[in-house]
């Protein structure tokens, strides 16, 4: 009992403690308020700065010509090319990524999984400039020598972006496949279905929304990826609609990097570039939001 008595004496010190508690809570509140304000400020600032370009209306959103030198800022072709490059890369990433995810989740022996999984995780954040450099030195030259053309092309963009999108697709799909309740699988196997039949008829349909989410997220990543793409797609002076996968293109991100270097402070050009950023932002945020909602829904179900 002696200890208890002594502990009670600390009550006085405890009063200070409760003030400390309240101070800590206030401090944490202020810090989180500031990070949230920063996040909102970035959004609002970009919107406001892009406004003069958005004010161009149809000329901006549906204009076919992007040519700063003559004050023409139509983004349609840029957006189109962004999607051409992004979707192509996504198709490649899907063809390779989904089977890999199924393999990892269902068929891979443990030791092999222990090798592949870390590789995939390492691939996620690998500095894009390194991949771009590799693309420039190996892929572009390979394409030029094999198929002709400049080498810097849509095809190179697809392959490089696929490499960067793959890990996202694989890891989220694998999680989705693993989240399918074991009972379903056992029920199917107990009915005499083979493992592969069980995977295609029971597991994959149940993991559908997660897999789809991984693809949408992969698309978001592909659209927002900058340096690696920039280095291999050629970026013609005036963007045009490509007629073959061997032609160079220009996408939203690469346009921003290249032109931010020489934009004139306060010019329409500057506002247009910011507006490009906002468009990019909106596309990616939408894709991310869809992914988030889908993953949540999948989990609730």
């Amino acid at each position: 009992m002696g200890v208890l008595e002594r502990v009670r004496i600390f009550k006085f010190w405890k009063m200070g403690e409760s003030i400390k508690e309240r101070l800590i809570e206030k401090l944490l509140f202020l810090l989180s308020l500031s990070s949230i304000l920063i996040v909102f400020f970035i959004i609002v600032f970009m919107l406001k700065e892009g406004l003069p370009a958005f004010a161009l209306g149809g000329e901006f959103f549906f204009g076919m010509t992007w040519h700063p030198a003559t004050n023409q800022f139509g983004i349609l072709i840029l957006v189109l090319c962004t999607f051409i490059v992004g979707i192509g890369a996504l198709v490649l990433a899907t063809i390779i990524g989904i089977p890999t995810a199924v393999f990892l989740a269902e068929f891979s022996p443990e030791w092999l999984r222990n090798i592949i999984k870390p590789c995939v995780e390492m691939l996620v954040g690998i500095p894009s400039v390194v991949i771009g450099f590799f693309g420039l030195m190996v892929l572009v030259i390979f394409i030029r020598d094999t198929f002709g053309g400049w080498g810097e092309s849509i095809l190179a963009g697809w392959i490089i972006l696929a490499i960067m999108t793959l890990p996202h697709v694989i890891s989220i799909s694998e999680d989705a496949i693993r989240a399918v309740p074991k009972a379903y699988k056992e029920a199917s196997l107990a009915l005499g279905a083979t493992h592969l039949q069980t995977v295609t008829r029971v597991i994959l349909p149940n993991a559908r929304s997660g897999i789809l989410a991984s693809l949408i997220l992969g698309m978001g990543n592909a659209v927002g990826e900058t340096m690696a793409v920039l280095m291999v797609i050629g970026n013609p002076e005036i963007p045009f609609i490509p007629e073959s996968v061997l032609e160079p293109v220009r996408v939203l991100t690469s346009t921003i990097v290249i032109e931010a270097a020489y934009m004139i402070w306060g010019s329409t050009h500057q506002h247009a570039l910011i507006a490009l950023g906002v468009v990019l932002f909106v596309i990616v945020a939408l894709l991310n939001a869809i992914t988030t909602v889908m993953i949540r829904k999948g989990m609730v179900k």
Partner: protein, 284 residues
């Protein structure tokens, strides 16, 4: 019929092996190529010398600059991010407002760094007049990883079972004592892992640094936080796209090698911590 089925199954299995192989091969090809090509560039001189003109000298300021930038970025983003995560998950009521905030943070966590870079260039560099500098670069990198840090820390904090909190509170611990001694004590490997992954992003980012921190070829170390600073990524980018000699390309490979090594060190630590953490939370 069954024979056909067997063959189909075999083919599908082979297809999956091929796909998995391609994935791994992609990583090994890129990394292997850079290491093979870059190892020839590595020497003490290269690591410790200052660059001059486009294609000569070493990358010492770039290595140091990359570390400086990551440090400023983390100094900014970690306290803010972790504090926000603690507040959001432990103190804030679960209502519409926090729900919205969370949703925004989640969406922003995936925003292309180029957009943030553009913001840094226009707001920090021009409006606030911080110029192209270590400060601008570090802060902008911090903006990029802030939502990420919040999300990763929140996940780690959420993974600590509620029963631990209850047990602590029932013993008469105050809220903050509970958070410090039970929640953070158990969540910290997860939080550190998230921070390290963010650090990896900061080290590997090119666009932001190119816009806000420096031209990559800086032949000096920054003396003040308002000085421009070189970085391995921008150095690699500039040489890769503008060097025309063997020596220049070799230096770009050398810089890539150093960059990848730094990146791997950070990421491997992060993944190791995370795996250990996941195992602990699932009760070993």
């Amino acid at each position: 019929m069954t024979g056909n089925k067997k063959i189909t199954e075999k083919l599908v299995m082979i297809g999956m092996y091929v796909a998995a192989f391609i994935t791994v091969a992609a990583l090994f090809t890129v990394v292997g190529y850079v290491y093979v090509k870059g190892i020839g560039a590595i020497s003490l001189d290269f690591l410790l010398d200052y660059p001059y003109r486009l294609e000569f000298g070493g990358i010492f300021p770039q290595i140091v600059g990359t570390i400086y930038l990551a440090a400023v970025c983390l100094l900014f983003a970690v306290p803010l991010g972790v504090a926000s995560a603690i507040y959001l998950s432990e103190y804030a009521p679960d209502n519409m407002i926090t729900g919205t905030v969370r949703f925004f943070v989640e969406c922003l966590a995936g925003i292309p760094s180029i957009v943030i870079g553009l913001f840094g260039l226009i707001f920090l560099v021009h409006y606030l007049g911080l110029g192209i500098s270590l400060l601008s670069g570090g802060l902008t990198l911090g903006f990029m990883i802030l939502p990420w840090t919040i999300r990763a820390s929140e996940e780690a904090i959420k993974a600590v079972p509620g029963s631990y909190r209850e047990a602590s509170l029932a013993l008469g611990a105050s809220k903050w004592q509970t958070i410090r001694n039970v929640v953070l004590k158990n969540a910290y490997p997860g939080i550190i892992s998230g921070i390290l992954l963010g650090c990896g992003k900061a080290i590997g980012d090119t666009a932001i640094v190119l816009f806000t921190a420096g031209s990559g070829l800086e032949w000096f170390l920054p003396m003040a936080i308002t000085d421009p600073v070189g970085s391995l990524t921008v150095y690699t980018y500039i040489l890769a796209t503008q060097a025309h000699t063997e020596a220049g390309i070799l230096r770009a490979f050398g810089a890539s090698l150093v960059l990848l090594t730094m990146f791997f060190m950070v990421t491997v630590t992060a993944l190791y911590l995370r795996n250990r953490y996941v195992r602990r939370m699932s009760g070993w």
